[in-house]
Amino acid sequence: MALLAVNQVSKHFGGLVANHEVSFDLYEGDVLGLIGPNGAGKTTLFNCIAGFYPLTHGSVTFGGKDITNLKDFQIARLGLARTFQIFQASGDLTVAENVMVGSFMRTRSRSLARKSAEGCLDFLGIADTGGAMMTELPVAAQKRVALATALASDPKLMLLDEVGAGLNPSEIEGLIEILKRIHSERSISLLLTEHVLEMVMAMSHRVIVLESGKKIAEGEPAEVVKDPEVVKAYLGDHFVKRREEDGDA
């Protein structure tokens, strides 16, 4: 049975169709990439799955339970954690305390929350930042804090929205390592969006391609990049035509 099943999900904003009848399944242990050019509807789909937007049509089940009409925080409590493109942490709390907010989803006790938060910071290799304020950290470390906070809530599935944005290549490499460890050592399934393909391709078992709100391809990363529809979505019509001409010649 699929851990996450997205069935015919559509999301309209007035006349604008942000997602149109998107369906896919994610199984336990999967690392699934969700790619597509800017404005393809990736973040909207995330918001629909995580309960931040009400769906126009369709349904979503998580762990066999219909979560279509649940509220965002209820879905989070079931073990579906999401991160945001821009993670703005509380300015009144230290890094460790921000991570504790994640831990508090599973416990009432401050001492247990602290222990779990320290464990998560340590797991992500930023144990030394616990006492700092968020604004004092560089972007790459802030991204790790965001991951630590989501991790502290002990999820089954993490939806990662553009975690690699704004990082340089060596930082992205470090991030890939971290995500692989989250996946293997904590047995958390991952669904990641990225418009920088490098990271998704390196990590995903399967990839789903969105374009103008519709799913246009699904398959293994190496297969998907050859799909003419996908190339067209990313590089435009003439590129495909030119390649066809080149092929003919």
Binding site: D72, F84, D92, L93, V101, F104, S111, A150
Partner: protein, 334 residues
């Protein structure tokens, strides 16, 4: 009990702050013994009352970032419950106060539930409106004395602990000081509690908070109810201390704004903020108001001055006086 342990845990406070707090506490304990005018004593009592009002406000307004300008309605519920029960049924302060607290907290859930669907300025305006509507209702409700309010009867038998009636002000002072210490411990426990952390997460980014399983709406309502408990108890105390309550006095917009100003000036979202604010604003209000009131043509000038101070704080240092302390400390650390 971890909650009790949290309330007494001051380990995360800088030594300097704890030293100053200790000295301040010693001063408060000794104040009635030191030579002082009765005007100074009255001012100190006001200081303690407004510190408590501010501490309550700070829970939702400071830690939660929800600017609440309607706390006076709950002061009124506390004060009127105590006054009405004493006048009509001879109920002592110690019994009527918990009942007033329960009524105020109950009312805060009814008000809070729809109000916290609103955000930012809309929320602030709605809190003003609900408070003023309740005040208007009290002004036309004969059962509670209408616009003229209520006069509490003298019970005699001084010092009368049952009805909180004393000839000497230091009784009132020490009772308030007890509430003040209790109030501080509750705030300290609150900021170390799950709700306290969650509220600070909601304040800066509600979406992130929701993604961490926090029911932001319900968390705000809970903090609002806790804030209400503070002001309701002080309201009950005020009725006994003042012997006279009327809607225009204890349920006015002026009082709501003044309560919010304590924490905003001193530092919203910090534990000492409301106390710092009250220690500046209350003496200023009574001494300046007293002096200016005596000068022909200058009455009301003090109001202009608070307005100026608040505008200056809002523009220059939104985190209040305590924010200046924090900024200095951060610079020294670098």
């Amino acid at each position: 009990m971890e909650a009790v342990k949290n309330a007494f845990d001051f380990a995360d406070m800088p030594k300097s702050e704890l030293t100053i707090a200790g000295l301040g506490m010693a001063f408060l304990l000794l104040f009635p013994v030191l030579p002082h005018s009765s005007f100074a004593m009255a001012t100190m009592i006001q200081f303690l009352m407004f510190s408590l009002y501010g501490m309550g406000w700070n829970l939702i307004g400071g830690y939660g970032g929800q600017v609440d300008l309607g706390k006076a309605q709950y002061v009124g519920i506390g004060a009127y419950t105590t006054a009405v029960m004493m006048i009509r049924w001879d109920v002592p302060f110690w019994i009527s106060t918990p009942i007033g607290l329960a009524l105020a907290v109950g009312w805060s859930f009814i008000i809070g539930y729809p109000l916290f669907r609103l955000k930012g300025h809309y929320f602030a305006i709605a809190t003003i409106a609900t408070s003023l509507v309740l005040k208007d209702l009290f002004e036309v409700w004969d059962f509670v004395g209408g616009a003229r309010g209520l006069e509490l009867p003298l019970k005699g038998d001084f010092p009368n602990w049952l009805y909180l009636q004393f000839r000497e002000d230091y009784y009132y002072f020490y009772i308030l000081l007890g509430l003040f210490v209790l109030g501080l411990l509750v705030v300290n426990g609150f900021r170390h509690s799950r709700l306290g952390y969650q509220l600070r997460a909601i304040k800066d980014n509600e979406d992130v908070a929701k993604s961490l399983g926090i029911d932001a709406h319900w968390s705000k309502i809970k903090a609002y109810a806790l804030a209400t408990a503070y002001v309701a108890v002080v309201g009950s105390f005020h009725a006994c201390y003042n012997f006279n309550i009327e809607p225009e006095d204890i349920m006015s917009l002026d009082l709501s704004v003044l309560i919010a100003m304590m924490a905003m000036l001193g530092g919203a979202g910090s534990m000492w903020g409301p106390i710092i604010g009250a220690s500046i604003l209350v003496p200023m209000k009574s001494y300046l108001g007293d002096w200016l009131g005596g000068q022909a043509g200058l009455a009301g000038l003090d109001l202009l001055l608070y307005g100026g101070i608040i505008m200056f704080i809002a523009a220059a240092q939104p985190r209040g006086v305590y924010g200046i302390v924090e900024a200095v400390r951060a610079r020294r650390r670098k």
